[in-house]
Amino acid sequence: MADPVVQVSHLRFGPVNKPILDNISLNIEAGHFMGIVGPNGAGKSTLINIIAGLIQPDNGHIDLMGECLTHYSRHRLLKQIGFLHQLHDNQPRLPMRVSDVVTMGLTSYATPWKRGNNKSAVMEALALVDMETLANRDFRHLSGGQRQRVRLARALVRKPKLLLLDEPSAALDTVSQDRLFHLLRRLCNDTGMSAIMVEHDVAAISSYVDSVACLNRQIHHHAMKGENIPESAWRAMYGDHIQIVAHDSGCIGCHPGTDEFRHD
């Protein structure tokens, strides 16, 4: 059996008496699409950043593509990962064409002796996010949603084995969100790429992902497709101020008779 793409064991980050993440263990196989949900401050972005090698955990072990993630292996392993982080800077300053932004995602971009003709790979990545017609446009003149799609193309152009996404739908309208989740589902099925995606709205992602991890400092539940998330897991994440109000039979984690969950 092939090694899991991601194997996280007993991971802790933060002080022992008040950890931000505690005892996190996860296994992601090739082609698996996992959603991570949880309230603000639950440690979702921190977990993604640790798997992306941006933050060192205080305890625990991470294997990527069957190899331990260390200071020395990091550089090589990260070349097989695509990363789309949470948006902070919505006003890009550098004058760049859309195709140049996507070219930056190629693993050979920063090595001058390995530069080749990568135009077809760039156009292919742009086509995945329906942006190929805007390849020559100035990136600064795009809308927030278009920029986000270009950033996604940048993460996909290197054909990663693992894609890490931190709230990728933040700048997208509902139709673009659905298209994005559909695209990720298709890439996981067709190419064997694995994806871990942090999202707030479990109802929006539930028909696309293979599993949902409920995170609030710890993973309270890891529900596979078709499996319910128990009410205790919701309460462990969001406290007692949640009310389950509706249901969609296709989604993961909802009780019969409910369509979405709400917390106040």
Partner: protein
């Protein structure tokens, strides 16, 4: 005009200083793209002024000016790269502190040295016309080094300027690359001192890319435009300097300012016309 050009190119002083001046123009214009992309304009001003302390130390200890100033400027630039992270001081505050402190040290050291050894105006405002053969060699060495490192690291720096977090997650060593960039800014500042002096160096390190920013749409485009503007500005400045006996460094910076003004007005007009068309 043709007579002026003929006299300019036939003048032994001007022809001796033309190649070093053009080399400085190319190197500083190349670096200025990264200075703009990484928002290092204030750092450039700080390092150039702080290098007066290096020159002061060289004058006091009777050491060669440019090598000592180079080491000092690179050290200051690296210190500025490290200080904010280690001590929790913001980069602009750190630059301000080192800028003022080093400049004060430089003024004290130079004022105590024999005035016969120091061309203070030349240090402050530059004079490419008095460049010596030793200084030319030092200039060619530094210029070649900066261009070589730029060729190897420019795309990585560009990627970091666009999105440092994603660059780091792609496996780029962001912190060492940033240190290298700061060190190279220090080197380039010293390269400029002979042409524009400590006070005007920042003009050569900022203006070419600032002009290109208004026209370019890609890294290569910006670089070509920046170098072109810098060469045009340097040639125009040296011609003015020759024709009206103006200081060479100040003339070059004035010419670059003029190019920036023209670019800005042209772009402003273009945007205004576009908006008017949209309203109609």
């Amino acid at each position: 005009m043709i007579d002026l050009m003929n006299n300019f190119f036939n003048s032994p002083v001007m022809s001796a200083s033309l190649i070093p001046a053009l080399l400085i123009a190319i190197v500083t214009a190349s670096m200025s793209v990264m200075v703009m992309a990484h928002r290092l304009s204030f750092l450039t001003v700080g390092v150039s002024h702080a290098s007066l302390a290096g020159l002061g130390i060289a004058v006091s200890l009777s050491l060669p000016l440019l090598p000592v100033a180079t080491i000092f400027a690179v050290a200051i630039a690296l210190l500025l790269a490290l200080m904010p992270k280690r001590q929790g001081i913001s980069e602009d505050a750190g630059t301000g502190i080192l800028f003022a402190g080093s400049m004060a040290l430089g003024i004290v050291l130079i004022s105590t040295a024999s005035t016969a050894r120091v061309d203070l105006l030349g240090l402050l405002f530059g004079n490419i016309l008095t460049i010596s053969s030793d200084e030319k060699l030092w200039l060619y060495f530094l210029g070649g080094l900066v261009i070589m490192v730029m060729f190897l690291a420019s795309r990585a720096w560009w990627s970091i300027a666009f999105d440092a977090v994603t660059a780091e997650a792609s496996g780029l060593p962001v912190a060492p690359l940033r240190m290298l960039l700061y060190g190279l800014v220090g080197l380039t500042v010293i390269l400029c001192v002979k042409l524009a002096g400590i006070v005007l160096t920042a003009g050569l390190m900022i203006l070419p890319a600032a002009c290109a920013w208004l026209w370019g749409r890609s890294l290569v485009g910006l670089w070509i435009l920046s170098v072109s503007f810098s060469i045009i500005g340097t040639m125009a400045g040296l011609l003015w300097s020759y024709a009206y006996e103006w200081p060479s460094g100040a003339s070059v910076v004035l010419a670059l300012c003029l190019i920036f003004m023209i670019s800005w007005i042209f772009n402003w007009g273009k945007t205004w016309l576009k908006r008017s068309d949209n309203k109609v």
